[in-house]
Symmetry: C3
Subunit: 139 residues, 3 copies
């Protein structure tokens, strides 16, 4: 058993931009040389989240429509009063979708479905460089 930690980096546009990190995650698992175990993807920040989806523009757009409807950007947020920020909706969306995803692997391969990708979703309000922790535990 061993633990291997890496950081994935990506550039996002914000505002619900979804980045497919499946390939990067698979590479971390391969480079760990571990055969079976779990990889945890974790967003070290409070305006981004991870989940899985069939990564094609339609499904990503549909997911963002949901967030636009239930957590709209253009209304008052108590968080704004605190800091003068404009990203109250980003915080709520990220807390709801969640910062953490655990994916098993076996024989060195992620246990994903054929039409299922791991995505990082950046809910913050502008473009930026982002990082995601990928940590592998296994044998």
């Amino acid at each position: 058993m061993a633990v291997v930690s890496r950081e994935l980096k990506c550039r996002t546009k914000g505002n619900g931009d979804a980045i497919d990190i499946t390939g990067d995650t698979a590479r971390v698992v391969q480079e760990s040389r571990l055969r079976s175990g779990i990889v945890t993807l974790f967003v070290p920040g409070s305006t981004g989240a991870v989940t899985t989806i069939e990564f094609e523009p339609g499904a990503v757009s549909d997911l963002n429509r949901l967030f636009d409807e239930i957590v709209p950007p253009n209304r008052d947020y108590q968080h704004h009063l605190r800091w003068g920020d404009d990203n109250g909706h980003s915080h709520v969306r990220a807390a709801l979708l969640g910062p953490s995803l655990t994916v098993p692997f076996a024989d060195g391969e992620l246990s994903l479905g054929t039409w299922q990708q791991i995505v990082f979703v950046d809910f913050d309000t502008g473009p930026r460089q982002r990082r995601i922790v990928a940590q592998v535990i296994g044998e």
Copy 2:
């Protein structure tokens, strides 16, 4: 420390059908002969999800009403334009609820509450055979 991977199988009706997989999960932990650690439940597909709930028909129905309200089936989805599919809402619901759940165990017993069960929810639009990965890591 060891890693043990199994596949759970179940037949679902789709459309929010929730299957109690607590017993199957407990059995995988028991058969692993590990005493403490975590079991990760993971759905290898993009139209199903896992969570916990008090598994009785009322609570399951209440959860499905929420999804019917915030991600209704009968409207346009961009995902449909791509594939001619009818399950855009299934993809959005599954991404929101999440494909992954991690449950600790100690002394060979899952750390669940008395009125808490592990459920697989199939959001796809028809009946089918489904599988869930159950992977145990522990000692």
Copy 3:
């Protein structure tokens, strides 16, 4: 590799009361003397959940407004018919937000962002003593 399990305890007011359990979680990791791995926070019950958020009253209030809007307390729930309970909304909210969170650590430090805290959210309808399982796996 080793597994260390602890229970965190807290007193909550219920009704969406969010408790910052970051310090308690960090202490469990420190006391485990493990250097790298994951800590799993798990709520053994079906009316509470865990996530991360920037822990300030505004963001917590914004998150609770979302739940008040999409899962309002004052309406009929099928769960009430079963038990005569009044907490159908608590069950739906908890199932949606999720009972489980996995946070990596490296060099004995949680991989959290600067403005990101781990919170337990109690959706039940009254004050009570609550417990959360914190289980560390690592080396």
